[in-house]
Point group: C2
Chain length 427, copies 2
């Protein structure tokens, strides 16, 4: 059989979902540095490796294993919802962070990173052909998940203060006019130091968005808000803005997704959700089929990290570290990039969002991309971060730079190479 | 709104998949001991807690963290497919266990327990209305997964040597006659010390099953075999039987699912699959959306456990421990149960499968079940382990007893109570 015929045969063996699921668009890009060690990647979204809490975790292990019974409980199967003490600790923590008390730990579910919560929430709410609204631009991994479940993804324009309320309202009104409003199931929004833009939603915007979604929602056509607060703990400066979830005092509309990966260590592969009480059992039933519970040992260690203050100490140190790396990145951009190039100054998180002059595409295959590749430097092309919709042109002159994983010297070198590529593309 | 109306509203907000997904039938049963601490559970499928490798894991942590660079790599994000060294180690291990060499580590995927592999495999192959063949009886958790994806589950009768070849052939022939053969996507089979029966497939049966599936399969209508070998390492006695997967020399038909939970520690929540090369990318794409990789720290610790021999030492110890517990359970059954009650003597694994005389139902609500409950002892009713199919009556006079989690004294006490309940139900 020819390999083309074989590939076709193979596809016919797969479920509709599997046929809709492709390799992440960005995979080939992230693999490039493995092929060429001289390649400097400002694309990789990993965390700073030097500052990972190796010593702290040894302490946590010693603490847990000093009690043999507790250690053995941590090595046993856990429950689908996650370790009870951890969930209680998180409930109190969220109350301290301003969410309406009392929080019922029953509505907190421990997941494999926040990603699993994004997946479960989507799988439980979205049928093929349903609509999910996202920010323009948004987190590209989640758009892969939406493709896989067969959702139609619509991007809502944003500015530096978050989703533009008028744009959200206009989209919903036009969907109402076309009779498609009942198919809108989720508004996905990253409220803090968004990936890729690095900007946050102001409090006013959170209120506006919540009000609009509530207004276009009814008992029959319910729109949930999926608030992804992955970068919440990584605030360098500026005022504290309450979670959008704060507005959901009856705990019925907003799913809050959090992670331990950014502010502590991705190696635990743990995150959690605080869920509307009506959805919790359905998310749990689904997780029961996926894996009936996340790693119990990892959960017990994280629980100790939270209770002893080790987690918060580490997060505080990380904020310093990332702030310094951000400062360095902005400084080099300022000194070396042509003035026509614009960028946002993030007050937290891991990313700087850069906009080239109109007409200078950053997409794979563009002159700029090739100039960068020739100079052995990588970025995330902005086009990957936009929901691609028929009949709507999205910007293609942007890029995401990440200062988290890269160390200082290669960061400076990589940015200089990118500045060279900019200059070349602009001539 | 009334609570009934509210529940209906709530359901209308869910995806079709979520509406198909229910709480595991057995949940209420497994929660009973929490409500009544005097309840003795021979139902719980947890592992022996006393023997969990707390000391060994401290050693593994010390080993990993003695190299700061290695420790920090383990605390970073991993890859979707899992830690490369672990996958290489497993490839060699599977070759040593008799699978055709060379095994490409690219086809080994690390998952959250073997459960996640069962889920991913099913999700990638099965559309609603497709057919999955399982053993009668089979692992009840997997049947929940099948309901959730909308599969039609058909049980194939088994005897003490595994699936009965004639029964498999007859089922496939009848599906062929009705035009439904193309909808058969998977045969799910537990080859070693099956849950719930405790029996294994003989080598001859493996060959027969493989041949039949191959014969009814074509390029267009492909039937995969999902070989769940979760209890492979827990063999107490008898000859070694090669994996069914051994027959799949081209690596195209059999997905082998393995776990570290039974022979080492469930708290890591890790398992793995050895997959047909054609399926690997599709399973990985799906896992990318679920969680883009299992816990990296846990994977690194397991890798050290395998490489140092700590894993195998522990598994050897566990075999002794479980054999002794099995011997005790069989001994008490022999001495206390009425002679009309039959049971299988497992040569490995964690379960004893008991058959009451015809007409004595063990199902929830039955006289026997109530007599047991009144005596504060629990078992898994056999009915939960059968695919319920319209027009086919399945046995309802069986039960699964687990000797893994329960300690010796309560085990003896629980069995005596169950024997009392038997006697009461038989009078």
């Amino acid at each position: 059989m020819s390999s083309v015929a074989q590939a076709a045969t193979s596809l016919s063996r797969l479920s509709a979902r599997a046929r809709r699921t492709s390799e992440p668009q960005i995979s080939w890009l992230l693999k490039k540095p493995l092929e060429n060690p001289n390649m400097i990647s400002l694309a990789a979204g990993l965390v700073d490796q030097q500052s990972l809490p190796a010593q702290a975790i040894q302490k946590l292990v010693a603490m847990l294993f000093s009690n043999e019974d507790a250690a053995k409980r941590a090595l046993q199967y856990g429950t689908t919802e996650g370790e009870a003490t951890l969930r209680h600790t998180l409930a109190h923590r969220l109350e301290d962070q301003g969410l309406p008390a009392p929080i019922d730990p029953e509505n907190i579910v421990i997941t494999n990173g926040s990603q699993q919560l994004l997946f479960l929430a989507t799988d439980v709410l979205v049928d093929p052909g349903d609509i999910v609204l996202v920010e323009d631009p948004t987190y590209f991994v989640y758009m892969g998940t939406l493709d896989s479940v067969g959702a139609r993804t619509i991007g809502i324009p944003t500015d530096d203060e978050g989703i533009i309320p008028d744009a959200l309202e206009e989209t919903l009104r036009s969907l109402e006019a076309s009779g498609e409003l009942p198919r809108v199931k989720i508004l996905y929004v990253m409220t803090y130091f968004q990936n890729p833009k690095g900007s946050s939603h102001t409090w006013k915007r959170r209120e506006q968005i919540y009000e609009i979604v509530e207004r276009f929602s009814s008992d029959e056509h319910y729109i949930y808000i999926l608030e992804d607060a992955a970068y919440y703990e990584l605030k360098f400066e500026g005022e504290d803005v309450p979670f959008l979830k704060t507005l959901d005092s009856a705990n019925e509309r907003v799913l809050l997704a959090m992670t331990f990966s950014k502010a502590f260590a991705p190696g635990f592969r743990l995150g959690y959700g605080y869920l509307p009480s009506e959805l919790t059992p359905h998310i749990l039933n689904q997780k029961g089929n996926h894996d009936f519970g996340s790693g119990n040992l990892a959960q017990n260690l994280i629980c100790h990290a939270l209770q002893t203050g080790i987690f918060d100490e580490h997060a505080a140190m990380l904020r310093q570290r990332y702030r310094a790396k951000r400062d360095l990145m902005l400084d080099v951009i300022r000194r070396h990039f042509p003035p026509e190039v614009k960028y946002l100054e993030p007050k937290g998180g891991l990313y700087v969002w850069v906009t080239m002059p109109e007409g200078i595409s950053t997409s794979p295959g563009s002159r700029f991309f090739e100039e960068a590749l020739a100079r052995e430097v990588l970025y995330v092309p902005g086009c990957y971060c936009y929901a691609q919709e028929e009949g709507r042109r999205k910007p293609d002159n942007q890029m995401r730079l990440c200062y988290a994983y890269i160390q200082e010297d290669p960061m400076v070198e990589g940015l200089k190479r990118l500045a060279d590529a900019c200059a070349a593309a602009l001539t």
